[in-house]
Amino acid sequence: MPLSDDQLIRKSLEYRRTTLEIIKHAGAGHTGGSLSCIDILNVLYNRVLRVSPETRKDPHRDRYIQSKGHSVEALFTILADRGYYDRKELDSLCGYNSHFVGHPTRKVPGVEFNTGALGHGLAIGVGCALAAKKDKSDFRTYVLMGDGELAEGSVWEAAMAGAHYDLDNLWAIVDHNTLQITGRTRDVCSNEPLDEKFAAFGWEVVVIDGHSIPALTKALMERTEGAPRAIIANTTKGKGVSFMEDVGKWHHGVPSDEEYAKALAEIDSILASK
């Protein structure tokens, strides 16, 4: 039974809560970026991707590559909810001998690639999309990148190849929260305008509200014959917790006990009103 928009909105709230829980428990994590991309991952995993724990080795499954690997807590949270492993396993996040390390690894069921060094995912995605074309398979490949990550030159090598090979089975999603570890991306070393850059590289570009379930659904499901699609998803770093929203220090900030209680209370009160 497909989930409604309202049900997905509720899921996002629950995912934000779990993400905060596991980061607080581990005493480490990338809070801001995980919160900014949760709606994107929610729509991907609950509405778009044809993947499941049972078919995770099916050659025709859709591929999701999280190039912005540091937002791994969002991914681990959602994979647990989708049944790849038990939520309790996330209590070992960043712990000794845990395979739930601070960036995605294939030791975790459901993770496709070991990412975390920025600028790697799009080339891998191009390779997957090319393989699908060669095998005449209809699986689709989605790559999530951060906007700060787009400073990596390798992203643009891959962007060229994606357009050159007319990969209309490839989606690049930019979590455009405008903040990176040092500050505003436009102040660190501006890479704007992102939409025009991707368009100039031969991609079909859509710019959307990256927290809108309907907008994400449309952007992620639609495709254009003959061209890869770039989705510039305008998001807010730290989304969903008032004092974290659009504040750079939450890039990898871990809330204090007081902040943690306040953050959960905010989410819980919205959940209670739903």
Partner: protein, 332 residues
């Protein structure tokens, strides 16, 4: 007008090669291209990925015969390895082909993360490796690659010495389903003598046996060690020659057996003397408490001499004459 390219072998070395019946084969790079084409014709999942390197990789005929099985990414080595990892993760048997100098440096992080750490079985093919590009200079030399890759977990390192080893290495890498780095030069090579046809990843090959000393060599330097061993036989010195086509995994057993039975060990490689075969062998010997007189012959830690591959080899004593001289000194 430029001078004719100097020979890799002195007339005395050529005479010895003739005396022991060696014949000149092709460049390993050509063997790579021929073998890959044969593999790809038999299996449509075999894919060559190139970075504007199909000419230098001798893959022109491959591209013409199997256009659907070659992926061109342009001059973009990071992209080359990343795309190769994506293809391989979807079940393709991928040979990412690029000059060794760029492949092992520009795309090292993709090799480390997308291939080795992710455990995706890409075959990384370093063409014109070592100082094959000779006079093009240090930008085009790969004298760091073995050291760099030995320091990264989960990648096989294959450095064939002749056409037989090259052909077998390509086939073995394709069948291994593990990350691999293969290193080929572009100069024609003598075919080494073969006692039998066995080749296996992780196995060194004993090319010649003697009881006074052992040359442990890899890649295009093995022939020079063999010629030196034959040269010294005239002075009643018995030299073992071991070819090490897999620098990782290293065949410690064969190396230790050779070292235990003689008093001098000389390693030879077309690589900086740091971090390559020599130091791998030294570590193996020391940790097994085997202490022969020991010397690493390779490219020293200095601004590399200029000239052709032959010039550079001769300059650093990677020649029949140079190796005979080093051996004689240590045996004294």
């Amino acid at each position: 007008m430029s001078a004719p390219a100097p020979s890799m072998y002195s007339s005395e070395a050529v005479a010895i090669a003739k005396k022991i019946g060696l014949t000149m084969g092709k460049a390993n790079l050509e063997i790579y291209a021929d073998t890959l084409l044969a593999l790809a014709k038999a299996d449509r999942n075999v894919i060559a990925v190139t970075s504007d390197s199909r000419g230098s990789g001798k893959l022109g005929p491959f591209g013409q015969a199997l256009p659907e099985q070659i992926v061109e990414v342009g001059i973009a080595e990071q992209n080359l390895v990343g795309i190769s990892a994506g293809l391989a993760s979807c079940g393709k048997t991928v040979f990412a082909t690029s000059p060794g100098c760029f492949l092992s440096a520009r795309s090292l992080e993709q090799i480390k993360n997308d291939v080795a750490y992710s455990d995706i079985p890409v075959n990384l093919v370093a063409i014109s490796a070592g100082v094959s590009y000779g006079a093009l200079g240090t930008t085009h030399h790969s004298l760091h690659d073995l050291a760099a890759l030995r320091a990264i977990n989960n990648i096989q390192i294959l450095v064939p010495a002749d056409n037989f080893e090259a052909r077998e290495a390509v086939k073995a890498a394709a069948a291994s389903n593990k990350p691999a780095y293969l290193r080929f030069g572009k100069a024609p090579l003598y075919d080494l003598p073969r006692k039998n046809d066995s080749f296996a990843i992780g196995k060194a090959r004993v090319i010649r046996e003697g009881s006074d000393m052992a040359f442990i060599a890899t890649g295009e330097t093995v022939i020079h060690a063999l010629l030196a061993a034959e040269n010294m036989a005239g002075s009643n010195i018995g030299a073992t020659v071991i070819s090490v086509p897999t620098v990782r995994p290293l065949d410690a057993e064969t190396i230790l057996a050779a070292a235990r039975s003689c008093r001098v060990v000389i390693t030879v490689e077309e690589h900086l003397v740091h971090g390559g075969l020599g130091e791998a062998v030294a570590s193996t010997l020391l940790q097994a408490a085997v202490h022969p007189k020991f010397r690493i012959v390779g490219i020293p830690d200095e601004y590399t001499a200029t000239g052709s591959q032959a010039d550079i080899f001769r300059h650093y004593g990677i020649s029949m004459e140079g190796l005979s001289e080093v051996a004689a000194k240590l045996l004294r």
